[in-house]
C-alpha cells in the first residue's frame, strides 16, 4: 500500500470518528439548548398567564388545549418551575404528541394556582436527521478536500522521499557513483539522504576494496604459483631419481591445487559482488547442450550411461559464463562421484534443471556439502568448492537449489529457476 494512501485512509478514518463524536455532542447540545429555550419560552408564557390572572381574568376563561390551570390548596408552598416531557393531545395535528410541559404555581390573591403550559418539542428524529445530514455534508467536503488538496500537498511534501527511493533503486555498484541528493528543506528527509549519501560512499569504498582484493589476489597469487609450477616443470625435466620425481610431482600437483582454490575463491567473490551482468536472457538449453558435448567424452571413458532430456529454448536471465560454470560443475561432479557402469540423467524444463546420477552413499549431510571446502571424500585433488560455487550461483540468481540422496544412493540435484 502506498504511503499516501495509508495517510489518506488514516486521515479519513480519524475525520470520520471526529465527525461521529462531534455529531453526538452537537446532537446532545442541540437537544438541551432547544429544551432550555423552550422552557424559557414556556415560563414566560406561564408568567404572562399568571399576570393576566392577577389582573382579574378568570382562570377558566384562559384555559385552552395548551394551558391547564389547577387550583391548589393555599397552604401548599409555591412550586418552582418544573419542566417535564409528556404525551398530550395536540389539537392541530389531531393526535397525541410528545410535548414539553412547564408548570409553576403562583399565589395570586388568596388563590393558589398551578399553571401548566404545553408546547410541542422538536422531535429527536428531526434533530438526528439534521445532525446526520450536516455531518455527512461536512464529511463529504472533507473527502473532497483530502482528495484534491491534502493528497496533492502530501504528494509534494513526499516528493523528496519518492526521489530518494528512485535514486536508491537506480543505485548501481558498477557505476561507482555514490548517491547525491538535493536539499529538501525537510529535516527528516535531509537526515535520511545524508545518511544514505554517507552509506553509499562507504559501501562503494568497501566494494572497491573487495573487488580490488579479488582482482589482486589472482595476480598476486597466480604469479608465484606460476613461477613455482614452471620451476617444478623444469626440474622434472632434469636428471632426477624416482624419489625426487615423486616429491617434485607432489609439490607440482599441490601447487596446481592452490591455483584452483584461488581461482574458485575469486569466482565466488565475483559472484557475491554480483559482478556478472545479468541483464540479458540466455538460452540455457543451448549452453547445456554444449556442456554435455564437452563432458560426453569423459562420460564414455568412465563407462557411464548418459540420458538427457532437454527442452529447447529455455530462457533465463543469467550471465553465459556463469551458466557454463554451473553446468560444468554439476556435470563433472556427476561424472566424478560415480562408478563404472553407473548412469547420469539430465533434464531441463522451462522452470527446472535436474541432474541425477548413481553414486556412493554419503557420510556427510547434503546441506553440509554445499558449504565451502566441504567434501565427502578426503580425495586430495578435490578442492571442495564445486557445489559451493553452484550454491552461490543459485543464491546470486535467486534460484532454488536442492541436493538430495535417496536410500539407494541416487544423487539428485534440482535447480528451480
Amino acid at each position: 500500500m502506498r504511503l499516501l494512501n495509508i495517510l489518506t485512509t488514516v486521515y479519513l478514518l480519524i475525520t470520520l470518528t471526529a465527525v461521529i463524536t462531534g455529531g453526538y455532542f452537537i446532537y446532545r447540545k442541540l437537544v438541551s439548548e432547544i429544551d432550555f429555550e423552550l422552557g424559557m419560552e414556556l415560563e414566560r408564557q406561564i408568567e404572562a398567564y399568571a399576570q393576566r390572572i392577577s389582573n382579574g381574568l378568570s382562570p377558566s376563561a384562559l384555559e385552552n388545549d395548551r394551558l391547564q390551570i389547577t387550583e391548589l390548596p393555599y397552604d401548599l408552598e409555591e412550586e418552582a418551575l418544573v419542566l417535564s416531557d409528556t404525551i398530550a393531545y395536540h389539537d392541530p395535528m389531531n393526535r397525541e404528541e410528545k410535548q414539553l410541559k412547564a408548570s409553576k404555581s403562583y399565589k395570586i390573591g388568596d388563590k393558589h394556582y398551578r399553571i401548566s403550559y404545553y408546547n410541542l418539542v422538536v422531535e429527536a428524529e428531526d434533530i438526528t436527521e439534521t445532525v446526520v445530514y450536516t455531518m455527512v455534508l461536512v464529511f463529504l467536503i472533507q473527502i473532497i478536500f483530502v482528495v484534491f488538496f491534502f493528497r496533492s500537498i502530501s504528494n509534494r511534501v513526499l516528493r523528496p522521499f519518492q526521489n530518494t527511493l528512485k535514486k536508491i533503486k537506480q543505485f548501481d555498484f558498477g557505476a561507482n557513483e555514490p548517491l547525491v541528493f538535493e536539499e529538501t528543506k525537510i529535516s527528516e528527509f535531509d537526515q535520511l539522504n545524508g545518511f544514505l549519501e554517507k552509506m553509499t560512499q562507504k559501501l562503494l569504498i568497501d566494494y572497491r576494496q573487495i573487488k580490488e582484493f579479488s582482482e589482486n589476489i589472482s595476480h598476486e597469487i597466480q604469479t608465484p604459483t606460476a613461477v613455482v609450477g614452471g620451476k617444478l616443470e623444469n626440474l622434472l625435466n632434469s636428471e632426477i631419481t624416482e624419489d625426487q620425481a615423486v616429491l617434485i610431482y607432489a609439490a607440482y600437483q599441490n601447487n596446481e591445487k592452490i591455483h584452483r582454490i584461488v581461482k574458485s575463491l575469486g569466482l565466488l567473490a565475483k559472484l557475491q559482488n554480483a559482478e556478472f551482468d545479468t541483464s540479458s536472457k540466455i538460452d540455457l538449453s543451448e549452453i547445456l547442450e554444449k556442456s554435455i558435448e564437452l563432458i560426453s567424452e569423459l562420460v564414455i571413458l568412465s563407462e557411464l550411461k548418459f540420458n538427457a532430456d532437454i527442452r529447447p529454448e529455455v530462457f533465463v536471465n543469467m550471465h553465459p559464463s556463469v551458466a557454463e560454470i554451473m553446468f560444468s560443475n554439476l556435470l563433472s561432479n556427476a561424472v566424478k562421484h560415480n562408478f563404472k557402469g553407473g548412469w547420469i540423467k539430465v533434464s531441463l524444463s522451462p522452470h527446472q534443471l535436474l541432474v541425477s546420477n548413481s553414486g556412493k552413499s554419503l557420510t556427510k549431510k547434503t546441506d553440509e556439502l554445499k558449504g565451502r571446502f566441504k567434501k565427502e571424500s578426503s580425495n586430495s585433488d578435490s578442492v571442495g568448492l564445486g557445489l559451493a560455487i553452484v550454491n552461490q550461483i543459485c543464491k546470486t540468481y535467486h534460484f532454488q537449489f536442492d541436493y538430495s540422496v535417496s536410500k539407494d544412493d541416487i544423487h539428485t540435484i534440482t535447480i528451480d529457476f
Binding site: 606460476a226 613461477v227 609450477g229 614452471g230 616443470e233 567424452e297
Partner: protein, 227 residues
C-alpha cells in the same frame, strides 16, 4: 624461431627461457613496456609473449603499435588476470591467443608452435617424428605412410606429445591441454591414461614404435631414445 618475452617477473622469465631454449628457440626479454617498444622497433621477432601487467603500463597498449609493423609477429598474451574482458579485448586488438597464468610450460610451447603454424605456415606444415607424420591441415596422422584412425582428442594428444618431445609431461599438463578448464573439476586423470593407451595401441597397430614411456608414474615422455 625468435621469441620476445615481455614479462616483469624475473623467475617467470627464467622458467620460460629455460624451457623454450631447450627447444632451440632464441628468447629475448623485455621487462617493461619501454624496453619492449625499443626491441620491437629494432628487431624482428616471430613471436611475442606479452604479459599485461607491466611496471610502466598495460601490455594491451603495445598491441596497437604492433599492428603498424610491416611484418607483424605472433602475439600470445600471458596474463595472470584471467578476465574474459581482457581476453576479448586482447584478441580484438590483434593478439593471436590468450594463455592465463599459471600455465604449464609444455602448454606454452604447444601454443607458440600452434600459432606459428597457423599464421606463418598457413597450417600446411607437416610435423615429422621418426616414422610418424602429422598433417595439421586435415588433421591426419600416419605411421610409415599408413593412416591412423585417431579421434580429435587423440590427434591433439599426439601433436602435444611430439611438440614436447623428450620432455616429462605431467598428467595434469596433458589433461589441461585436452580438456582445458574442465580438468579443474576432475580429480583423477584416468582419462589421460585412457587416451594414452588408445594412442599407443593405434600407433603399434600401424607398425610404429612405442615412443611413449611412463615416468615414475607421474607422467609421460615421448621420445626416440625411449625403449
Amino acid at each position: 624461431m625468435k621469441v620476445l618475452l615481455i614479462e616483469d617477473n624475473k623467475e617467470m622469465i627464467l622458467n620460460i627461457i629455460k624451457y623454450l631454449s631447450q627447444e632451440g628457440m632464441i628468447c629475448e626479454v623485455a621487462e617493461n613496456l619501454f624496453d619492449a617498444q625499443d626491441k620491437i622497433l629494432s628487431f624482428e621477432y616471430d613471436c611475442i609473449l606479452l604479459d599485461l601487467t607491466l611496471p610502466d603500463g598495460n601490455g594491451l597498449s603495445l598491441l596497437k603499435e604492433l599492428k603498424r609493423l610491416e611484418s607483424k609477429p605472433d602475439v600470445l598474451i600471458i596474463s595472470a588476470k584471467n578476465s574474459l574482458e581482457d581476453k576479448l579485448l586482447g584478441l580484438d586488438l590483434g593478439a593471436d591467443d590468450y594463455l592465463p597464468k599459471p600455465f604449464h610450460l609444455a602448454e606454452l610451447l604447444a601454443r607458440i608452435k600452434a600459432i606459428y603454424r597457423r599464421t606463418k605456415l598457413g597450417g600446411t606444415e607437416v610435423l615429422v617424428f621418426e616414422e610418424i607424420q602429422v598433417q595439421y591441415q586435415n588433421l591426419l596422422a600416419s605411421v610409415h605412410g599408413k593412416q591412423l584412425d585417431l579421434t580429435k582428442k587423440e590427434f591433439d594428444l599426439l601433436v602435444f606429445l611430439i611438440t614436447n618431445k623428450n620432455r616429462v609431461l605431467g598428467k595434469s599438463a596433458i589433461a589441461q591441454h585436452l580438456w582445458g578448464d574442465y580438468t579443474d573439476n576432475l580429480s583423477n586423470f584416468d582419462f589421460v591414461y585412457q587416451h594414452i593407451k588408445n594412442l599407443r595401441k593405434k600407433i603399434a597397430e600401424a607398425g610404429g614404435r612405442d615412443y611413449l614411456s611412463t615416468v615414475y608414474g607421474i607422467g609421460y615422455k615421448f621420445g626416440a631414445n625411449q625403449s
